[in-house]
Amino acid sequence: MNLERTVEHTDRGPLSKDELAARVARDIPDGAYVNLGIGRPTLVADHLTPESGVVLHTENGMLGMGRAAVGDEIDPDLVNAGKIPVVETPGASYFHHADSFAMMRGGHLDVCVLGAYQVAVNGDLANWHTGAPDAIPAVGGAMDLATGAKAVFVVMPLLGRDSSPKLVPTCTYPLTGVRCVSRIYSEDAVVSLAGGEAVVEETWGTTVAELRERLPGLVLRER
């Protein structure tokens, strides 16, 4: 463990998407059972080495999910949660949906990585519904993952496109799960949440003081 690790990296800009995915991968323990959400969390898989022994779970019924299938490998009966064809890895197993979600709910998954609209400082997660009147709600497995995984990592920018904070004192969007998020990974910073507190673990291209200005109403502690 590097106790001298710098919190603020002001000598560079924000992380790229790939660097961010690599940063998330670094926090996934060797041998962990992990579910990666659709979209940006999927990129984390590219940074997990076979030596790490990390096993990927896909909620439609598989442990030992491999990379995206190409060419002759494509099999319509073998897809991930995003319905993208994938390959199986040695040691893979298949199971039905009720068993797959029992794994989640039963607390057998070590980590899940999700995207989010908002996260509150107490760990509340909002990632399934904007609440807009004309929006068609769709939840999929998000609530089960938020409820069941031992650690919930969220990959999201700290600010929305309109610069409104996404890490907030209280979520205004409909909740996916209560007090479930353990860490937030953004291009600018990694923030840990525990016991109602937000702790800045590391920043890139910004300082903790700047984050405090951009995220009003929050107490941000420095690691």
Binding site: T58, E59, N60, G61, M62, D75, P76, D77, L78, V79, N80, K83, E88, Y94, F95, H96, H97, A98, S100, F101, A102, M104, R105, H129, D134, I136, P137, A138, V139, G140, G141, A142, M143, D144, T147, G148, P174, L175, T176, G177, V178
Partner: protein, 224 residues
């Protein structure tokens, strides 16, 4: 001799579905989707259906065609909104279809409970969210749970890989998804398979759905 009936075609397999039925339809995307059985149900004509599926149809075929034909009163699913779910989207926005949105794991477990004879169960998923509205809650070990009820089907339409002539089933890869729980949760389960092997042709150790949960089997697609 097993009680499982083997039918010659998909139309015979879905015969007798009555108006107002709850139809459980397997599949997750294209994987495990019983396309031929859904098409047969469309021809069969039953109306006022409640359909249980993970999604609410894609494109203009299969479940989407059933919706477009105005045959579905209500859909129970976890993820209706997709890039190509325009048929559902339009019906929903026009108020012409009822939606019961259920978290994916709760959907699977409610189906499992139906097949397992469980009257109801407490589940932490969704507690403290808008999907908890109207549900009984109970704090167990310091955590809020929601009381969830089983989903029984009148009919299940399931796609498996192989059946033996006794009616035992095996699936292929992630196409297994909802098949086993839906087959057990319905009064009549109808299964399409790509092939039927002689009794004894499936290793009893690898049978996933035992024939007791399989009422009708039809072989579809090309024979090897």
């Amino acid at each position: 001799m097993s009680r499982t009936r083997f039918l010659d075609d998909a139309d015979a397999a879905v015969a007798g579905v009555v108006d107002g039925s709850t139809v459980l339809i397997g599949g997750f995307g294209a994987a495990g989707q019983p396309v031929e059985l859904i098409d047969a149900l469309l021809r069969q004509g039953a109306r006022d259906l409640t359909v249980v599926n993970n999604n609410a149809g894609n494109g203009d075929v299969g479940l989407a065609a059933l919706l477009a034909a105005g045959r579905v009163r209500k859909i129970v699913c976890s993820f209706p909104r997709q890039s190509d779910s325009w048929v559902f989207d339009e019906l929903y926005r026009a108020g012409r279809i009822e939606l019961e949105l259920v978290p994916q794991g709760t959907l699977a477990e409610r189906l499992r409970a139906a097949g397992a004879g469980i009257g109801a169960f407490y589940c932490p998923t969704g507690a403290g969210t808008p999907l908890a509205e109207g549900k009984e809650t109970r704090v167990i070990d310091g955590r809020e749970h929601l009381l969830e009820f089983p989903i029984h089907g009148d009919v299940a339409l399931v796609k498996a890989h192989l059946a033996d002539e006794f009616g035992n089933l095996v699936y292929r890869k992630t196409a297994r998804n909802f098949g086993p729980v839906m087959a057990a949760a319905a009064r009549t389960s109808v299964v399409q398979v790509s092939d039927v092997v002689p009794t004894g042709g499936l290793d009893p150790e690898v049978v996933v759905t035992p024939a007791i949960h399989v009422d009708r089997v039809v072989r579809v697609g090309v024979a090897a």
